[in-house]
Each structure stands twice: as structure tokens, then as C-alpha cells.
Amino acid sequence: MKLRKALSIVLAVLMLVSVLAACGGEKTPNTPDTPNTPSTPDGGNGGGGAEKTGDGVLTVGYATVIDSMTPFRSNTGQDAPYMTLLFESLAVLNDQSEYVKWAAKDYTTSDGGFTYDVEIYDNITDSAGNHITADDIVWFLEETIKAALKPDFSKIESVTKTGDYTFQVKLSSNMVGLFDSLMKHTFVISKAAYEASKDGFATECVTTSAYKVTGFEASSYITFEKRDDYWQDESLVPECVAAKTPKITFRFITEASQMGTALETGTVDMVIDMPSATAVQYLDNSAYSSWESPNMQGWTLFFSGADSRPVANDVKLRQAICTAIDPQGLITAIASGHGSPMYDVCPPTAIGYNPKWDSEDYYNYDEDAAKALLAESDYAGQELEILCGSSNQRMAEVIQGYLGAIGINVKLNALDMAQLTAIRLDGTKYDMFINTIGATTLANHWSIRYDPNAYATGDGTSRHDYTLGEMLYKTWTVDGYTEENIDEVHYYIKDNAIAYGLFNPQRFTIWRSDLGIENTVYDYAGWPSVAATTFTNA
């Protein structure tokens, strides 16, 4: 009996140990590396007010996760507020949508925007002490072209080193804004440091910014601490990327319903890009402050251009659909009332946007007019399919509801990012596609979506509209980016209902009012720049 009992206990313990052993015997989570621990939950402070953390670390909640700190990444997540804290780039976009030089000391163009000569500062060092020269930049550009993760880099014809700190870039296109965008996406990193890293900076990275990474756990958190050996004279650093806050932790919160909880329990001091449904709860609460900024992208409904789809060649049907959707309803339902209607496929923040469009009719919501347009169309009760990402399912549901109201039969196809990416350029797979396109200029946005030569299957929705194509090409050059040419494209897309700007939600940043913010600085994406803003009580 005793033996039996002993044996059973031994086996039970063995069971536990074997599992722990199988995973390296690391029994407790490593506490030293973990970020800011929330202040002790204080039961007495039940008034719903924020708790003062004051631990010297600004902890920011953010929904977009990074799995790796690699500098070779696609455009996904490029606007995340911690990106500029990792690597310095040649130039940076400020909150006025102007490109300002950062690691680049100077650059000149000689032949109408095809060739650029760039000079970088000669005293750049990374957090491991490596000195950075033109070789590193040329290497980075070449690697990025090879990795093919960012489409802009495919327009680089050649990169040549011309001196210790100078190099020349030749482009195959002189499209407006292209070179600026390349400058912004060219990170300054040391080739030697990158090659010495065991996993390509995935888990440990050597930074060139004013910060170094002192804690990182993929998809969980990243902690930055100000470097004391930063190479640049602080007076030469653009204001939007200045380093004022000594220590910052970004905590990734993927579960939307947990964002508010994190803020209220003191897990984070601030949440950037809080979903509107949660954010509106803090707007009237004096314990919290908020900052609203319009989305840089706006939501657009793209119509398929593939001949097999009913919408592709039926202008009246497309117009009926645009007229049947009430942007105000979308704003109420999806953005909790905080958003603005759109008057173009691009939001007003895009460079080249003409404010006069705002006062013109843009498929004003009218159910009866929509029904009349539908009657004129060839629509015969087919099931139309809306494609969207699974995170925008609700938006698609609202649109489905509006279209149902005028008698259009709609099926939703909400897919995860991977499946969406695989079919979103294939117009034969959907009638309508809800998407948001990031672009700093109208020309850039248009080239991604409406250039019939852009992809093997035509434009972004498999359409082959060469009339539109010709109009687009005119706007691409520096000389052709005129109001007249831009207008032409705008009205063509609008009148033919090739795509429809749905609405532009406001985005929210909410923080504890007692953070002691002085002099808020915003970054180009419209977020308060947490590094450049002064917090007296973080």
C-alpha cells in the first residue's frame, strides 16, 4: 500500500518534470526582461480614475504586433509608432507631410528626378559602436531590392558608391514622391552588425536611432532606452523624431476588448490607435485625455474589373451600389460616430487632394435613387460577393445591409490576411473588395490600384481600362502632377464608379491625463510621437 502510494507520487512528479524538462526547465517567466510591471492594483482607488504609475517608463499599448525586428520588412505595419525608434532612415516624413533629411546630410537630383546623389553624415554609429559608411547604405539598398518586400525599391536601377559617405541612385521612373519614399524606407544599419546577428535582427537588434532595444519578446512587447552614445547633434534631429522620453515600452494588445482594461488597470499609460468603440468611453472622462486624428488611408470599396463579374461592365449597377450606401450610417456603426465621409477614393491627407471636391456631390445616399439606378442596370438578382479582411467583417455586414435594402443580394467573404493577400488582385474572385490603401500622394495610390499594366491580370481588380491608364501616366511625372490632370483622373474614377470612397474613420490615442504631457509632437502618421513628446510624469 505504501509502496503503491509512493510510486504514484513519484510518477505524478515525473509527469510534471518531464514536461518542464522538455522545454528547457525554465519554470518561471524571466522577470528581469519583462516590461514595466503595472502598479500594484489598488482596491481603494475604485473611482474609475487612472492610477499614477510614475515609474519612469512610458508604457504604450498598441494593437499591431511585430514578430521580428528585421529591417527587411514589407509595407505592412510601416506606420507603427515604434518603427522610427529602431533604425534611422535617410529621411523622415513629418506631420506636415514633408520629407525632412534625417541620416542623409544632403541630396541633389540632376536629371529631372531620375538620378540622385546622396550624402550621409560621416559620424553615424550604431548601438554596438559600428561606424556607418556609404558601403552600408549601398548594401542595404541592394539587399532590399533583392528581398523584394517593398514595391518601390523595384524602381531602382542601380546604386553606386561615389565616396566614403556619398552614393548615387538611378531610378527607372521619376514619379512624384518616389525618391522621397525610398529615402524614408532606406534604413541606416551596419552590414557588419547585421551579419554578426544570429537571426538577422529578429530577436536582438543593433539600432542606429537614439534608442537601443533593451527588451523584446516577439508579439508581446518591445522596450527602448535612450542611448547615451547617440551620434547626432540633437539640434540637427528633425523635431518629429527627437528623443525626449528616456524609456519607452510598447505593449502589444491584440484583443480589442482588452485595450480599455489595460489602460484602466495601469498596465499601459497610453493606448495608440484604440478602437473607436472603446475609445469613446474615455472622451468625457477627465482622468483621461484623447487625441483624434483622421485615418491616413480611408476605406474604399473597389469594384471588380473582371468581365466574368456582373459589376465589371455595368456602370449603373455600380452607381446604384454607391448611392445605396450611407456613409453616415457606416460612421455611426463602425466608427462610433467619429469619422468623415469621403469625396474621393483617397482621403484629404493625400498630397494632391483638391479640397474643392468636398463641396461636390459624391453619390449622396438616397435609397430611392439607388433603386431607380438599379432598375436601369442589368442586375438580375445575381449574388454579388464582397471580399474583405476578417477584421473588417462588420463594415461589410453594414454594406450588405444597405445593398439588401434596395434588393441586391450580397454574400460576404471575410478572409484572414493570408488568404486575402492571395486573391485580392484577382477580380474574378469578388465583385466588391473593401480595402484601405496607404499612399502619400494621389499618384502613388492610383498607381497601386488603377494602372492596367501594374499586374499580370491588369489593375488591382483585374480591370484593363487604358483610357484611365493614359490619364494616370500623365500625372506621374513631376511636371504632369497638375491640378488639371489630377482632376481628370478624379472625375473619371468618380463618374464611372470604378471605386468608391466609403468613409474615413477617426483614430484615437487615449492616455492618463496625469502623464504630464508638455509640447505634444506628432509623427507623419498622425500619432503623438511618444519619443519626441515630453512626459513629466511617465
Binding site: 468603440a277 472603446t278 476578417s390 461589410a396 450588405q400
Partner: protein
């Protein structure tokens, strides 16, 4: 020749089965919880089936200005973030949630019976191979397997049902096999074998009916479990597509509003909890009624 000899047997069997059925029913009717469970279930299924006629609103009728209305006479359970009537959606949701559960369990039980009875009856190498194959499926954590299969198949009602059923096939196959091994030892099977009854016939008319009781109990419980698992799949974005008002999908969509409008997550959550609870009552009742040990 065997025909004549076995002819009276089914008759007897039937009579015995009938009395057995009556006994189980009598036993079951003594169990208050089980009776409550059956009553609630019948009501739920009726409500779901009659949803198009009794629901006060269309389940997808939006009324955005009237979103987040709290429960009232007009909207019994209030309205959701798009102003849709939650009561109507819960009624319609029952159709999908309950039928997902039942269909998935039906599929896994039928396949489980096929696999299990082959393994259990033939034994030896056949049994060994089948059991090892089942081991492979069972070695993968159930929820993980379902999630992987659901993403392989993509969203949709049928795909969700398939994903939910695959993971539970081994369990029901194993149970049936175990039961079969026990039954196989019985004298009447030996008798059937001795008179050259076909294997198929032995399995289907003799072995299976006698192995069914634990299967019935576990299926009832299985439906309950599948409903919560299906809700879990919807919660992480797999599962049926909107605007289909599946209960789990309703919960998932409403979770970001739970603080300002708790009724959005309370009613679909209660619907799931109630259904699962009563299914468990019935399952328990059936187990007690079928278990000869607890006859008295």
C-alpha cells in the same frame, strides 16, 4: 438454412428492445433535471425551427440610429451595434448553433461507429492498424486540430461542421470498439457465428444495437461540447460567415462593446450556456437510465 433458424430472433429482439426502451423512458421520466432538460430543448428547437414566423424582426434588418437599444417591449433583448434585434438574432442563431452541434456529432458518431465496429469486431491486425491511426489523430490536441482543419477548409457552415467532427471521430470509434469487445464475448454472438451468420449481419443486427447506450449518452454530451467549441472557433474568426447569427459569432462581434452595452454579450452567451446545460442534463439522465448499476 440459417434464415429459418434466426427468424424468430429478431422478433424477440424487437420485443426486448421495446421493453428496454420503455424501461429507459420510465427511468428517465423519474429524473427531474432530465425532464426539464428535454422540455427546454424541445422549446429551443421549436423556437429555432419556427424563427422565420415568430421572430419579430428580420435577423439582418439594420436600424443604425437605433443601435445599442436596451431591452424593452419593442426589442425584448435590445438591439446590437447595427440596430438589429438581438432576440430575433438569438432565435435564428439557434438554427445554426444547434444544427452545427447535432450535424457534427452525427458525422463523427457515424464515422466512429463504422471505424470502431470494424476494429472491434475483426480485432487482430485490423484493429491494431486502425487504433494506431486513431492514436495519430488523438495525439494532436483537439482544439488545435479543429483550428487547423477549419483554416484549411476556410469559413462556412459545412466546413465548420466538418472541422468540428473530425477531431471527435477517434473518441467515438474507441468507445464503440471497447463496447464491441465486451459484447463479442457474449454467448449469443458465439451462437450467431456458429450458425454462419454473415459478419456484416452480426455487426449490424446483433452487436451494434447492444453497444448503443454509451454512444447515445456520449453523443448527447458531444452535441453540448461541440456547441461551445463551435462558438470558440467563431470567436477567433473561424466558423460561419456573417450575417449568419451564430451565437459564438454574435459574442465575438459584440465583445468590443461589452462594457457600454453588456446585453450584447449576455443574451447570446446565455443561449449557449442554457443549451449546453440542458443537453448535459439530458445526457446525465440518459446515462443513469441506461446504466443497469443504478437501476434502483
Amino acid at each position: 438454412m440459417p434464415e429459418t433458424k434466426t427468424a424468430p430472433a429478431p422478433q424477440q429482439h424487437k420485443a426486448k428492445k421495446k421493453s428496454e426502451f420503455m424501461r429507459v423512458m420510465r427511468q428517465l421520466s423519474k429524473n427531474k433535471l432530465a425532464m426539464i432538460g428535454i422540455a427546454v430543448l424541445i422549446i429551443e428547437i421549436l423556437l429555432a425551427a419556427l424563427a422565420p414566423w415568430i421572430a419579430p424582426y428580420e435577423y439582418d434588418k439594420m436600424d443604425i440610429p437605433n443601435a445599442f437599444a436596451t431591452p424593452s417591449a419593442e426589442h425584448l433583448f435590445g438591439t446590437d451595434d447595427m440596430g438589429r434585434d438581438i432576440f430575433s438574432r438569438v432565435l435564428y442563431g439557434g438554427r445554426y448553433s444547434i444544427s452545427t452541434g447535432i450535424l457534427a456529432v452525427l458525422i463523427s458518431t457515424v464515422l466512429g461507429i463504422c471505424v470502431g465496429s470494424v476494429a472491434g469486431y475483426f480485432g487482430g491486425q485490423v484493429d491494431n492498424i486502425i487504433m494506431r491511426l486513431l492514436d495519430i489523430i488523438q495525439a494532436i490536441p483537439g482544439m488545435l486540430l479543429m483550428i487547423v482543419i477549419a483554416s484549411v477548409l476556410g469559413p462556412g457552415f459545412i466546413n465548420t461542421v466538418i472541422a468540428l467532427s473530425v477531431g471527435s471521430i477517434p473518441a467515438s470509434a474507441r468507445m464503440l470498439r471497447a463496447q464491441m469487445l465486451k459484447e463479442r464475448e457474449n454467448e449469443y454472438i458465439e451462437a450467431s457465428q456458429s450458425i454462419n451468420c454473415s459478419k456484416f449481419r452480426i455487426i449490424f443486427s446483433h452487436l451494434l444495437p447492444n453497444c448503443m447506450s454509451p454512444m447515445i449518452v456520449s453523443s448527447t454530451m458531444g452535441v453540448a461540447q461541440t456547441i461551445t467549441t463551435a462558438a470558440g472557433l467563431s470567436f477567433i474568426g473561424l466558423g460561419v460567415q456573417p450575417p449568419t447569427p451564430e451565437w459564438g459569432a454574435m459574442l465575438s462581434a459584440a465583445r468590443q462593446f461589452m462594457r457600454q452595452a453588456p446585453h450584447l454579450i449576455i443574451f447570446p452567451g446565455l443561449a449557449i450556456a442554457l443549451t449546453v446545460l440542458v443537453l448535459n442534463f439530458v445526457g446525465d439522465g440518459l446515462r443513469d437510465a441506461l446504466d443497469p448499476k443504478l437501476k434502483n
